[in-house]
Subunit: 201 residues, 2 copies
Amino acid sequence: MNQKIKSKETQNLIINSAFELFYKHGYNKTSIPEIIKGTGLSKGAFYHHFNSKKNIGEKVIDLTVRKRVYERMVAPLKNPDDAPVIPLLCDVFIKRIEGYSDLEKDLGCPANNLINEVGYSENSFREMLRDIIDHWQEIMVNLLEQGKIKGEIRKNVDTSATAIFLISAFEGVRGIRKVYNNDKILDEYLIAVKSYIEQLA
Amino acid sequence: MNQKIKSKETQNLIINSAFELFYKHGYNKTSIPEIIKGTGLSKGAFYHHFNSKKNIGEKVIDLTVRKRVYERMVAPLKNPDDAPVIPLLCDVFIKRIEGYSDLEKDLGCPANNLINEVGYSENSFREMLRDIIDHWQEIMVNLLEQGKIKGEIRKNVDTSATAIFLISAFEGVRGIRKVYNNDKILDEYLIAVKSYIEQLA
DNA sequence: TTAAAAACATACCGATAAGAATGTTTTTTG
DNA sequence: CAAAAAACATTCTTATCGGTATGTTTTTAA
C-alpha cells in the first residue's frame, strides 16, 4: 500500500476518534491517550502525525466540523435547482432537526459546542469557527436576496440580520436541548421557527 | 466575628473566584489550585468548605449563575407595573445586550457556557441548568399570555414556542459572538429580534 | 479557663496529563 | 539489495490534577 495513502488513513483514524471524543466529552476533557485508545495505535504514532493537542483540534475543526456544518446546513441553501426560498429554509431549519438521532440531540451541535467551550480562549480555533459561521451566513444571505428578487421574500427584510437570527436560534436550541431528556424544547422551537420563516414572505 | 458569618464569607470568596474562572476558562479547564490562588486561602480551606470540584460547580450554578439569569433576564419579565408587553420584551432582549461590557460580550453567557460545556455530561449540573431555563420560559409565557389578554399579542401566537425561540436566539447569539472580535453579530441580532418581537403584536 | 470544635495550613499521594526521546519495524528509493 | 526515510511502538520526564491526612491556629461553649 502506498505510504502516502497509509499515512492519510492513519491520520483520518485519529481525527475521527478525536472528533467523536470532542463531541461527546468536549475538547478539554479529552486526552490524547484517550484518543489513541480506540484506534489501536500508540502515542508515538499520534505525535508522528500531529505535533500537539491544539494541532489535532485544528485538524478536527477544519476537516470534520467544517465539513459537517457545510454539508448539512450550508450546501442545501445554495439552491442549485432554484427552488422556492421559504420551503427551502423550512427544509433546512426544520426537517434537518427532525432527522437527528437521539444521540445527536443529546450532544448538540459539534461546532456550537466548540464555539462555546473554546471559542474565546483558543485563538486559532476561534478564527476557524468564525469562518464556518461567516460562510453559513453568507450563503444564507445570498439565498434571501435571491428570494427578494423572485418576490418570495419581503423587500424590507434585513437579510444579514435574518441569517444570524436563524443561525443563533438554531445553535441556541441545540445547546439548550442538551439539558433536557426529551424533545419538548425542539418541538417548541420547530413551531416558532416555522412561523418566523413564513413571516419573511 | 461570628463563626457562621465568617464561614459564609469564606465560602462566598471561593464561590466568586470559582465563578470567574468557570466563566473565563470553562469548568473543565479550571483547577482547584487555581480557584484558591486568588483568594489567599489554602487547599485545606477549600476542602473544609466544599467536598469536591463537582460540589463547588453545583454551588456556583445554584448561587451565582441562577441568580444572574434571574436578575437580568427573568425578573424584569415578571412585569409588576403591568407595562406594555412588547416594549418590555424589547427592553429585556435588546437593551440588556446593548448594556453588556466588552468582556461580557467576549465571554458569552455563563449559563449558556455551562450548558454547552457540561450540560450533557454532568447529570446534577444538567438538572439545575434545566431548571433555570424552565423558570425563564415559564415567566415569559406568563407575560405573553398576559399580553394576549390585554390585546397586545396576537391570539395565534404559541407562547411556549415563542419563549423558547427568544431564549434560543439570545443564548445562541451570545455563544456565536464569542468567536468574533466586534459587535457585528450582536448588531444584526438586535435588528432581527426587534422585528421578531414587534411581529408578535 | 479549658476542652472541643471549627477554620484553616502544610505536606503528601496516586493517577494522569502532554509531550520528548529513543527504539523498532516497514516502506521507499537509489 | 542496501541505505535512508517514514511509520510506528515503548519508555521516560516533568508537571499538575483531585483529593486525603495531618497538622496548627482560632473561635466557641461548658
